[in-house]
């Protein structure tokens, strides 16, 4: 086991032990370990790498350290800068999980139900990867490659996530069959970019990977009153909802049916839009 203190420590340990498992908050890895499904030969512990648990602004972007916990995403200035991400983080598991689980962990696990992923998708986030031999930056869609699959090489770790600071409201809504501590049945993030005169929509739990509702976004861009902030007309909202639901590619599982997910993601789209542009049709 290596308890890394710096990013370089961690990368060096990974280079030396390519079979090592990365341990950040442990909220996913340890579930498998406890069940005997994940064997551990070597572990690189990341939770004491200060660089990973920090964030800073570079121009119009934020660099979020992969070691920021879900609780961290709700502290200080971050909720003001990234309200949808803070809201998504608040729906993850329990207070205990939010104290331990990290942004990087949510990405690496790459679950279709990962709560921060639709927000990162909507934000056009990129993922900064690092190894002893270098670093690279991937778009989210290039990083999350399938159900619980990511683009990490054995010697790589997630260093940070780059997201833009946007002018405009951001919403995150998540359906679960319990009022707290629940895996999402469907989730939706809606991010308004007033500067770019666009609305971006990320969808969770409706496909193997987080989705963007590109057609719906394109449709909406033409129907928002960008100059006065007025909401789209009711029929434009209906069309938006239809396009969002159409973008979903859900499956039936024990948490919900495909039909329900398709329906619910449309409802979330309508509500998120209404919250972002109040005053129009619900």
């Amino acid at each position: 086991m290596t308890i890394a203190r710096t990013l370089d420590d961690a990368c060096a340990a990974l280079a030396e032990h390519p079979q090592a498992r990365l341990l950040a908050g442990g909220t996913d890895l340890m579930v498998g370990v406890n069940r005997g499904q994940v064997g551990l030969d070597h572990v690189v512990v990341l939770d004491r790498v200060d660089e990973l648990r920090a964030w800073h602004r570079t121009g119009d972007d934020l660099l979020l350290g992969a070691g920021l916990t879900y609780a961290d995403l709700g502290r200080g200035d971050l909720p003001g800068l990234l309200p949808a991400l803070a809201q998504a983080a608040r729906t993850v598991g329990s207070p205990q999980i939010r104290n331990a689980g990290t942004l990087g962990g949510n990405l690496a696990t790459a679950s279709p139900a990962g709560d921060t992923l639709p927000v990162l998708a909507a934000l056009d986030a990129t993922v900064l990867l690092r190894s002893a031999t270098g670093s690279r930056e991937l778009p989210l869609a290039g990083f999350v490659t399938g159900v619980k699959q990511n683009a990490l090489e054995p010697d790589e770790l997630i260093e940070a996530v780059r997201v833009p600071v946007l002018d405009g409201p951001q919403e995150f809504l998540k359906v679960g069959t319990r009022n707290a501590m629940v895996i999402s049945v469907v989730s939706l993030a809606l991010v308004v970019d007033r500067g770019g005169r666009g609305v971006r929509v990320g969808l969770g739990s409706v496909a193997p990977v987080p989705l963007r509702a590109a057609e719906a976004e394109a449709h909406l861009a033409d129907h928002v009153g960008w100059d006065d902030g007025s909401p789209p007309a009711p029929d434009a909202v209906d069309r938006f909802v239809e396009l969002v639901a159409g973008a979903a590619r859900p499956i039936d599982d024990h948490r919900g049916s495909a039909d329900y997910r398709r329906h619910a993601v449309g409802v979330l789209a309508r509500r998120a839009l209404h919250r972002a542009f109040p005053g129009g049709d619900r």
């Binding site: 442990g26 890895l29 406890n34 030969d41 572990v43 329990s94 207070p95 205990q96 331990a100 009022n179």
Partner: protein
Amino acid sequence: MSADPYVLRVNGRDHEVPDAHLGESLLWVLRERLGLPGSKNACEEGECGSCSVQVDGELVCSCLVLAASAVGREVITIEGLAPDGELADVQRAFVEAGAVQCGFCTPGLLMAVDTLLDADPSPDELTVREAISGNLCRCTGYGRILAAVEIAADLRREAS
């Protein structure tokens, strides 16, 4: 696979952990190697809160902490909540309010409530409910637990 012996600081004391397997959780090590079974094992996937402990002051599920990774951290368990042998305010409140039935969720809940009251001495009801939403209780329906939190908050404010 075996890990090198390591030392955990639990409830203000250093504990040597020899012969450990690398994959052992903090919960397992507390319960089976350090003789501190107060933290409970109800799900071992972070969904019930029965194993809640404080690590460096933060409430976490000890089942999801790799024990060997907690070296150098300050771990407080239910056994360390009242180190002088007297019951702590939250413990007294739980007894008084009838918040204990089978008691299996109780240690984890006490750790959660203690953490909450440290951060917020006068939490409103919704804050309390959210703060304990990661601690499942199957006996009480939470009513007496909420009553206990009120009593504990009173006790702690009076004492400070």
